[in-house]
């Protein structure tokens, strides 16, 4: 049966072939379209060049040590030392804590919205998750500082009291304020809507015929999730978690309010006061920075940029590939 619908549409000639106005238009649009490339390259080049003098003066110690000279307190002749290992390590620790807390919650939320909730509740919850994502980080930081921190301190004290024999929950002092644990919770609160949104979309994309087939074979919800939905959306789930992690690595002000910034590396005692975060360190040090320290901050920004860029590119590649699986 030939209806003509199966014919491929004819490709129109390139606009440059026939009109001068079109040529101008196409060029303009093309130039504008590559703005994001220009921005990315600009960041890489301008912040990257700040890296060179820092590496020249600090060497690899910039990445591997934790010493930080407080420039306002020293003489001109003193040798200054800047090492951001504690910050990089702290950022990763914070992101990991946030992942550990937020992923189960986000996954369960997504399962609730997609498979459990009645249609109206599901729609309401989708809006709710989007609203959660729209809350500015400074407001979350403010709330965390005044409302969440006391609660978090209480939880931390309880964890330490009953599970203190686990190395992670041991402490060196009784001060639980400003710990990576609390900052990790705040980051988790910011990650939940991001991870939930991606997870929800991925679970929603599970082909309905597979879900229906599983259910008509008598699968329970758990069996269906375990053998159909989760394997199908695995890539998207991993990608969503990484997208959230990229956001957590770059988050600045919310962490600034609840994390006590210390340059010494806080290896594993997540309940102990004090931790590191590259993004927060940049903002915290910016106000008092001299020219040389400013250069170090810019170089740290470059490190942060490269780190988040890699995480994001991998995450996007995974999410995009999962999207194509369905067709």
């Amino acid at each position: 049966m030939s209806t003509g619908l199966d014919q491929k549409p004819r490709r129109l000639p390139k606009p440059t072939a026939f009109h001068r106005g079109d040529r101008v238009f196409t060029r303009l649009v093309t130039v504008a379209a590559f703005t994001s490339l220009a921005v990315l390259l600009g960041i890489a080049i301008f912040l990257g060049t700040q890296m060179i003098p820092v590496i020249q003066s600090q060497g690899l110690a910039f990445f591997t040590t934790t010493e930080w000279t407080f420039t306002f307190a020293m003489d001109e002749s003193d040798e200054v030392k800047f090492g951001i290992f504690g910050m990089i390590y702290g950022s990763i620790v914070l992101a990991l804590i946030a992942v550990v807390i937020s992923v189960p919650i986000a996954l369960l939320l997504a399962v609730f919205v997609v498979f459990l909730a009645p249609a109206r509740v599901a729609k309401w919850m989708t809006n709710f998750i989007d609203l959660m994502a729209a809350i500015p980080s400074i407001i979350i930081g403010l709330w965390a500082l005044y409302i969440f921190q006391p609660v978090g301190v209480e939880w931390a004290a309880l964890l330490n009291q009953y599970l203190g024999w686990i190395p992670f929950f041991s402490v060196t002092s009784d001060n639980f304020i400003g710990s990576p644990f609390i900052a990790g919770w705040v980051l988790a609160i910011m990650m939940i809507p991001i991870v939930t949104a991606v997870t929800r979309e991925v679970l929603d994309r599970t082909p309905p015929e597979l879900v229906n087939a599983a259910e008509s074979l008598g699968c329970s919800l758990w069996t269906m999730l375990r053998y159909v939905a989760l394997p199908f959306g695995r890539g998207g789930l991993v990608g969503g978690v990484m997208l959230g992690m990229g956001r957590a690595l770059g988050e600045t002000v919310a962490v600034y309010f609840v994390l006590k910034l210390v340059f010494d590396v806080n290896l594993f005692r997540i309940l102990d006061s004090g931790g590191g975060s590259v993004a927060t360190m940049i903002v915290a040090k910016f106000g008092e920075a001299g020219p040389q320290e400013l250069q170090v901050l810019l170089a740290s920004g470059f490190v942060l940029f490269i780190g988040t860029l890699i995480v994001n590119i991998i995450a996007n590649a995974i999410v995009n590939r999962t999207g194509k699986l369905k067709s």
């Binding site: 009109h19 238009f25 504008a32 956001r247």
Partner: protein, 365 residues
């Protein structure tokens, strides 16, 4: 139709009788036993922890996490075994945990909104919205001074960022969907990569290129440039989604009538996508409005009202909150809460507007 009737009559069943039967709906088959067991499974653990919480000194967090949650899971499993058999047990666990996760996130958001409203209203007054901080110092009581300058700053910065990023964002989307240039996939990739740039890095970039080089000073314009970097990917991606939904008939129709590619895009495609593009703009605004870190580096703050976007450091709502919270004066912190309430109200308005435009049909084919 007639065939069916014949078949049924042959097998001795009349069509009318089949029609009269209501569907069985096995999923709605909730027996009294099921209802009773479910209700008991939900209520008993609640009652027990209410008693525990009221009559013992055990902290609330432990009551909920160590006592209530396991008890609720166990009771749900027992209920599932009673009414649904072995396979229903894991489902019961998932349902309890999923509802728990939902409750937790609702509690968190409710707590945030509730706190802002309660604490913000203390500071809110007409003068708070219309005055600036020029003649007050942080310990001044709440009746004087306000956030008008910060509000104006946010509007200026977001406005300039919008004016720059919306045309470029739309052009990016047009390049991907209309021009379909060779680099379309690459452009999409770069836009996605740009959307992951941390806001503090955007601020550092503008700081190095424009401010440290001496081209411009810390001002609304510099802040807007940093916002532009964050806003562009959102505008471009949403516009792309919208342009993809415009039916091809419109394009081919315009071209067949003799329109050029440029005119097709400008006069047919973009007007047809008007509401969608408004949504894209609003989503872009929502993305940047509360961003603090880039403004700390590029716009700083100010106590006076600044109208000139190029000359002086300027206050904005996020930086106003940031600097006031760090001050050791209750009235300053109270002002920060007031500003947070105004900022949240603005975000909610923008969010609702995006929902409103986003659900309207923008292309009538």
């Amino acid at each position: 139709m007639s065939q069916h009737t014949i078949t049924y009559e042959h097998s001795g069943v009349r069509l009318e009788e089949i029609k009269k039967q209501s569907p069985l709906r096995p999923w709605a088959n909730r027996t009294a036993k099921f209802k009773l067991v479910t209700a008991l499974a939900a209520l008993i653990p609640l009652l027990i922890i209410a008693v525990v919480y009221a009559f013992t000194e055990i902290p609330g967090a432990i009551v909920v996490v160590v006592i209530y949650l396991p008890m609720q899971i166990i009771s749900a499993v027992i209920a599932a075994l009673l009414v649904g058999g072995k396979n229903a047990a894991p489902d019961a666990v998932i349902i309890v945990l999923a509802i728990g996760a939902t409750m937790l996130s609702i509690i968190i958001v409710a707590s945030i909104l509730f706190t802002i409203i309660i604490k913000g209203f203390e500071a809110l007054s007409l003068s708070f919205l219309t005055q600036n901080n020029e003649y007050i110092s942080p310990p001044t009581p709440l009746g004087y001074g306000g956030i008008a300058h910060a509000l104006l700053g946010t509007v200026l910065i977001v406005g300039i960022a919008m004016v720059i990023s919306v045309p470029i964002g739309i052009a990016t989307a047009v390049y991907i969907t209309e021009v379909k240039g060779k680099g379309a996939n690459a452009v999409r990739f770069f836009v996605q990569a740009e959307s992951g740039v941390p806001s503090v890095v955007a601020g550092l970039f503008i700081l190095t290129v424009f401010i440290l080089s001496g081209a411009i000073t810390q001002s609304a314009f510099a802040g807007a440039l940093a916002y532009f970097i964050l806003m562009l990917p959102t505008v471009a991606r949403t516009s792309e989604e919208v342009l993809k939904l415009i039916p091809d008939d419109l394009r081919t129709g315009a071209l067949a009538l003799g329109s050029t590619r440029a005119k097709t895009v400008m006069r047919v495609v973009l007007p047809a996508a008007r509401t969608g593009i408004i949504t894209a703009t609003i989503l872009g605004i929502a993305r940047v409005m509360g961003e603090t870190a880039p403004l700390l580096l590029t716009a700083l703050t100010n106590d006076r009202t600044i109208w000139n976007p190029f000359g002086d450091p300027i206050a904005s709502l996020p930086t106003f909150i940031f600097f006031n919270v760090s001050l050791p004066f209750p009235s300053a912190v109270s002002r920060a809460w007031g500003a947070a309430l105004v900022l949240m109200a603005l975000v909610s308005i923008v969010f609702t507007a995006a929902r409103y435009f986003g659900t309207r049909k923008f292309a009538k084919s």
